[in-house]
């Protein structure tokens, strides 16, 4: 049994221990490096341990705390970054893919820079589905590090594409991680691994230094033990970056003390019979019962748009351009997932007029969805309609319908650039976590965090620990 004395503590709890002298940044860095090296590696969650850099950063954090220089809640807290975030100093950034295994950058990505400025300690580059899953994989063995394994059941997938970020946090191998989402890549592994994952509004967090899969859909966000921790991390990484023209000009502050804790107005989407696995549906209904103590809940109808085709057309066209040379040269055949070796050739033949048409419909979607969501603090839905698939089963077999793997709200939220948070809601088949998601209007992260905190104050699903 692994030593778990720090493993499942929140950022706030670890921060308190640091400030009263119950632990030190170097002790935490060493502890989580060792836990990643054992538990994390067993789950195929780790690409590179950044031990030397971590201990340097931890020693600096320690010296600063000793002389009273406190950089805030993340000071001295270890974290892992999805391995598509550029890191300087000779640390490889593999994008999860063998053809890029030796790739290095000479500058940290914007998020890494911001976390360093906040005093956080980078302990690892975490596993991911190769090229963030943009080449259309159909099974979990699609990464330089092998299939991401679920901390709750190692016969199940961790989810993707932020696989290591999900499983490392879920296993208590790191207090928090940074993930990225183009279409489901933060919320899905958060759901499958029983953690809290926040997808910020498009442009809230700078994309500089992050691998581009789809410029107009890519977003970076925190994956943590609690909703409150997600707010603390978002506070540190959000903000305008002149080097990312799509980053929002609006400043972001996480201010939980200013937020409501009840009186919320929530919308729920009508679901078709059999749309979710039975346990997912039961846990969702139980979550709604909990939320009724702090919210009024009413049914909401999504405006009628071809959300899936619009999102997929944009994703395929932009990914085909981002990886054109890689796909056309045949280098793509070095990826682990054999089903992606030639299939993305089709992406090259998305008509230019279809891409533009999709962007024209998208402009209407963002306005219509904003109007539909305007009267609600959040729209609530199951994050995923099924728990994690078995490690040896193709997604197309396990998730019987496209909606089984990707509920429509995922396309809605991502194509419209809306924030969402996924939090655990219980357990389903094979002992695997289920989750609910709160989606809101652009820029409403604090409202979503307030609802999620209120839910977590009334439940203990986020406090459950896997045996690893």
């Amino acid at each position: 049994m692994a030593d778990d004395r720090f493993a499942f503590l929140s950022i706030r709890e670890l921060g308190r221990m640091l400030r009263v002298g119950e632990t030190t940044p170097t002790e935490l860095a060493d502890y989580f490096l060792n836990r990643l090296d054992t538990v994390g590696r067993r789950l195929n969650a780790v690409v590179t341990l950044t031990r030397e850099r971590a201990m340097d950063e931890a020693r600096m954090a320690e010296r600063e705390l000793a002389r009273g220089h406190d950089r805030g809640p993340l000071h001295g807290i270890p974290y892992g970054a999805k391995d598509l975030l550029a890191t300087a100093g000779g640390i490889p950034t593999t994008w999860g893919a063998t053809p890029f295994k030796d790739q290095q950058f000479d500058r940290d990505g914007a998020v890494i820079e911001r976390l360093r400025a906040a005093g956080a300690v980078l302990v690892a580059k975490l596993s991911m589905v190769e090229l963030a899953g943009g080449m259309g994989y159909d099974q979990p063995n699609a990464s330089i590090t092998g299939p991401g394994l679920n901390p709750w059941n190692t016969e199940a997938w961790s989810g993707g594409s932020s696989s290591g970020s999900g499983s490392a946090v879920g296993a208590g191998a790191v207090p928090f991680a940074i993930g990225t989402e183009t279409w489901g890549s933060i919320t899905t592994p958060a759901s499958y691994c029983g953690i809290s994952g926040l997808r910020p509004t498009y442009g809230r967090v700078s994309r500089r230094g992050a691998m581009a899969l789809c410029w107009t859909l890519d977003k970076l966000g925190p994956m943590c033990r609690t909703a409150d921790d997600c707010g603390l991390v978002l506070h540190a990484i959000a903000g305008h970056d002149p080097e990312d023209e799509t980053s929002l000009a609006l400043a972001y502050r996480y201010e939980p003390e200013q937020a409501r804790s009840s009186g919320f107005r929530l919308g729920v989407l009508q679901m078709a019979e059999g749309e979710t696995q039975p346990e997912v549906g039961q846990n969702y209904n139980a979550a709604l019962d909990v939320l009724r103590a702090v919210a009024t809940i009413e049914e909401v109808t999504l405006p009628d748009f071809p959300y899936g085709p619009v999102t997929e057309t944009i994703l395929r066209a932009e990914a085909a351009s981002a990886f054109d040379t890689f796909i056309a040269s045949g280098k793509i055949a070095e990826l682990a997932a054999t089903e992606t070796h030639v299939a993305p050739l089709a992406y090259r033949y998305v008509a230019a007029k279809d891409y533009i048409t999709a962007l024209r419909i998208r402009r209407q979607i963002v306005r219509a969805v904003d109007a539909a969501f305007a009267q609600y603090d959040a729209i609530v839905c199951p994050t995923t309609n099924a728990v994690a698939s078995p490690i040896t089963t193709r997604f197309s077999e396990y998730f019987k319908t496209p909606a089984g793997r990707r509920p429509v709200i995922g396309a809605v939220g991502n194509v419209a650039g809306l924030p969402a948070i996924s939090v655990p809601s219980g357990f389903g088949e094979r002992g695997l976590p289920t989750a609910i998601e709160f989606v809101g209007r652009a820029g409403t992260e604090n409202a979503l965090l307030a609802v999620a905190r209120a839910y977590q104050e009334r439940t203990d699903w986020h406090l459950q620990r896997p045996t690893v």
């Binding site: 259309g136 107009t216 748009f305 071809p306 899936g308 085709p309 619009v310 997929e312 057309t313 395929r316 056309a328 045949g330 055949a333 089903e339 070796h341 030639v342 299939a343 993305p344 050739l345 089709a346 992406y347 033949y349 998305v350 008509a351 279809d354 533009i356 048409t357 999709a358 962007l359 024209r360 419909i361 998208r362 402009r363 209407q364 963002v366």
Partner: protein, 70 residues
């Protein structure tokens, strides 16, 4: 985009001919089927997008801006 059993969609076949001309040497039968499925999916998306009525003035969600340096 639904096809009758055994009836080939000429648009898919023409695009497959382009794929064949560019990348034929990399494709075995299984690979051809994967690419064909992807192209059918593209065309299915085309049909879904075309079914949504847009007016001439409906602009794209990504806006080009002219640029002048300092």
């Amino acid at each position: 985009m639904a096809e009758q059993q055994g009836e080939k969609n000429p648009a898919v076949e023409q695009l497959m001919a382009v794929v064949e001309a560019e990348f034929g040497e990399r494709l075995d039968e299984a690979g051809r089927e994967k690419v064909r499925t992807g192209i059918e999916r593209n065309l299915s998306n085309t049909a879904a997008l075309a079914a949504y009525v847009l007016a001439n003035g409906d602009e794209p969600g990504t806006v080009f801006r002219a640029y002048r340096g300092e």
